[in-house]
């Protein structure tokens, strides 16, 4: 009875809980016989993958649900071995090339070539093409995107691509224009509550949480269904009767980041910089992405500081986050932002008439 996220996931387009218009379109597209390359995009936890899985089922029938995991080994030009896990059925294959970092191009090229050159073996298959799902397409390197673009032109007969991304900004224009774009917005609060009530009704027969409890959980999840269901699951384990008060467990890192934000607001000194650095190291060593760190801490700081400082705090967060992407040593940029914020806050208190506030570059 574990993992509600998977267990009560809708399997068919008809079973989806929200975005019914979108489901309708996907359904007709899948039945038309003329299936284009597609790009699903939207915030995480909005249900992109669920929709992709449902569309596949619509395309090929229940056979796509027979999944197996395959470990593939690839050789980089420098003869380094890459192990990549691929999930596949007879009709599709799914990969996350960004997991191998800069070598994603190798994986893309090899797998796509292989798929494109093999015919569908299953004669009873409804379509002669296989579908390749590429997760996290927006974190592909430029090289890999260029390779992808070429294969999209070259092998359209035996293969269709479904890309899954958080945003289209990082995809090169030729890929965007070759795909049918499908935007999957985050569900509304009511939608999330609906999903939670459905899942809870199935999973915790007898004492399922009431509407109010679901609403509390949904509010905390901010449009991320996966997060909401996880929170529900954690809640069920800690508070099986869903008795008041409902407290939604937050991941440790989130609370931790908020405390770091508090530290910055409380004291501004070189010594405090050292303390905050230790916290950042702790977060980084727990595999929390630096962008997530800076955003979460900044959110907290912004909540705590004076209205006049908020824009500046976020301005520097944007600047240093950008540098972080370009640079190598994430801690430099996290810390530079921290020191900058500290100095802004400090000046605001000691030196209210600090001029030149508005005309940063």
């Amino acid at each position: 009875m574990d993992n509600l996220v998977i267990q009560y996931r809708p399997r068919k387009l008809d079973e989806l809980h929200y975005h019914h218009g979108l489901s309708e379109r996907l359904k007709s597209l899948a039945s038309s016989g003329d299936f284009p390359h597609m790009l699903f995009y939207g915030p995480s936890g909005a249900g992109k993958k669920t929709r992709i899985a449902c569309t596949l089922r619509e395309l090929f029938g229940p056979g796509v649900e027979k999944l197996k995991i395959d470990q593939r080994v690839f050789m980089t030009p420098s003869r380094r071995k890459l192990d990549v896990n691929v999930v596949q059925s007879n009709y599709h294959i799914e990969l996350t090339p960004s997991e191998v970092g800069n070598y994603d191009r190798v994986v893309i090229q090899e797998i796509l070539k292989e798929i494109a050159q093999t015919q569908q073996v299953d004669i009873s298959a409804r379509h002669r093409f296989k579908v390749v799902i590429i997760n996290e397409a927006d974190s592909l390197t430029r090289d890999a995107q260029a390779a992808l673009r070429r294969t999209m032109e070259k092998y359209t007969t035996n293969m269709r691509l479904i890309l899954c991304a958080n945003s289209t900004s990082r995809l090169i224009a030729p890929i965007r224009s070759r795909c049918l774009l499908v935007r999957v917005p985050a569900p509304s609060m009511e939608d999330v509550v609906g999903v939670l009530e459905y899942v809870a009704g199935r999973a915790c027969r007898g004492n399922s949480p009431d509407h109010a409890a679901c609403t509390v959980v949904a509010k905390e999840a901010a449009g991320n269904v996966r997060k909401a269901i996880l929170a529900l699951e954690a809640l069920r384990m800690q508070n099986p009767l869903f008795s008041e008060p409902i407290t939604v467990a937050k991941p440790d890192w989130e609370t931790y980041c908020q405390r770091v934000g508090d530290m910055i607001v409380q004291e501004q000194s070189p010594a405090r910089v050292m303390e905050v650095r230790a916290k950042y190291y702790e977060l980084l060593s727990h595999c929390i992405p630096p962008t997530v760190i800076i955003k979460t801490v900044a959110d907290r700081v912004v909540d705590k500081v004076d209205e006049n400082l908020k824009a500046d705090v976020m301005h520097w967060a944007a600047i240093y986050e950008n540098r972080m992407r370009v640079g190598n040593k994430k801690i430099f940029h996290l810390e530079a932002w921290t020191v900058k914020v500290m100095s802004i806050v400090k000046h605001f208190f000691y030196d209210i008439d600090l001029t030149g506030f508005d005309d940063y570059p």
């Binding site: 574990d2 993992n3 998977i6 996931r9 995480s44 999944l67 197996k68 995991i69 896990n85 999930v87 799914e94 996350t96 997991e99 970092g101 997760n135 996290e136 996966r226 997060k227 996880l230 699951e233 954690a234 384990m237 800690q238 467990a249 937050k250 991941p251 440790d252 890192w253 609370t255 931790y256 070189p270 010594a271 910089v273 050292m274 303390e275 650095r277 230790a278 916290k279 190291y281 980084l284 060593s285 727990h286 595999c287 929390i288 992405p289 630096p290 997530v292 240093y320 540098r323 370009v326 640079g327 040593k329 994430k330 430099f332 940029h333 810390e335 530079a336 020191v339 500290m342 100095s343």
Partner: protein, 566 residues
Amino acid sequence: MVCDWDHRVFCHLLIAWAAAQENRLWVDKYAPETEVDLAVHKQKIEDVRRWLREAFSTQPISKYRRLLVLTGPSGAGKTATLRVLSGEMGFSVIEWISAQQSPLDAYGYADENISGDDLYESAMDKFETFLARAGNYRSVFNNNPAQSSSSDSPTQNAVILLEDLPNILHEGIRQRFHSAIHRHVQRSTIPVIIVVSDAGVRGETEEVGAGPLRWSRNNEVSARFNPIAVTFLTSALKRVRIRAGAAVVSDSVLTNIVESVSGDIRAAIMALEFTAVRAGAAGSQKRGRNGPANASLESLTRKENALVLFHLLGKVLYNKRKGDPPPNHATKREATNLRKIDSKLKDEPPLQAWFNHEARATSRVSADELYSSTPIDASLFSLYIHQNYTPFCATLEHSDALIDNLSWVDANGGDNWYEQNPYAFHLYALGTLHALPTPVPHVGQKFYKPELFDVGKRAHEASNAIDRVRGWLSDRSPENASTWTRTAVALELGVVLRAKDMGMQKPPHGHGLFSEMRFVHGAGNAEVAGERETGGVPVSEEEPKRRLDGDDAQGTWLEDDDIEDW
């Protein structure tokens, strides 16, 4: 033809041997013969001796004494210890010397179209044969004349010494190597001793030696040798000086040598020999001229050594500028010296009025000089600055300017070697100097080694833990594998994993590496890397220095591989 060849080889060996007797390096000539001569810590010797005694004993414990790994920086006396004990305890050492075979291999194959793999394969074949033979017919090897007196007894003990490991970077080779060792340990009663030298600060150790050398099932014991302490090193050098009759080398030169080699006795003896030869050649002249000897010493013993690094960091972080008052404890002469140096420094041209806040006195530190004398690259340099800058900043604004510069330089220049900013080092150095106050107040600052490497290592472990959790999930349903990306697991799954820990279903062990964080107030846990009072003469403290060395070793390794990932 064959005869001819044999003859040639024989002649060659004969000549080489004769020459060697006459002209051996001091390192070999004055190699320690008894425990007293060994500069290694007594405890360490005792550890190894006890292990050997147990291995040769008939007690059941000997079963667990089949494989000993000696690690440590080069010149820490690992092999020497073994040789001395071999004499003392009367066992013979069967040595695998790949170096003797490889020249032939190289001549035979190198220019042919045989790939590197084949070459290694053949070396590997030889190694396997060697091990098998050494295990079974040890008497064949027991023909070392030096040992002949003791080898008469039929109960002669022996160990197999592996110093020149085959190249085990290659996965296949490594597996064969491991299984060969494993087989041997299973079958034979002859213990195997593996000696692995760490490299210097750059430290490929993890990759070359210890990393791939992790055994899980074998009953392996490992002993780590530390760099030789100053006192031991000095007395050992003095002994060599007496034995070699090299009285020309003064005590102060000796001290210099000891300081510059950071615990590497081999390098120390080499340096001693070199200095003695030079001093002997210039014997008629005045003795004890340290100047030139020092200069050459530095080039001779140049390891990427911690002291140089300290000196460099001190220079940058104490930010001395023209006209700074001399330190309180400075002697009069030093003070005049400083003034003399200052008078040679040109003043910077004046800045526009609106830019006046950026005006600084001329620095006594030249970035070019720093750059040419530095043992580390720009990236590591920036990490050291980052780790240590805060106590040197008087105000938050200094910190701001400094860290902003680090951030800016880091963000300008790519990951690949051809995109790298060739001026990164200068930019780091100059930007840091510009940002720091002048003079920097002395408040007992200490130097720390960068924590980032440790963080990188922990992040790596956490990322492995994430993969384990993902594996665990997808064992339950393959669907999980696609739903749970690494980021999703790291950011979202923690809540449920923790709850599960309390309940009945146990998720894989170790998910806490990424899912659990307890907030405690307080600063970091950086180790003190060493300390000194002024920016002047470096204080040589053995312990901290060693630590620095060791940690750098893993650090640089990590940097190449992991840091860029996050």
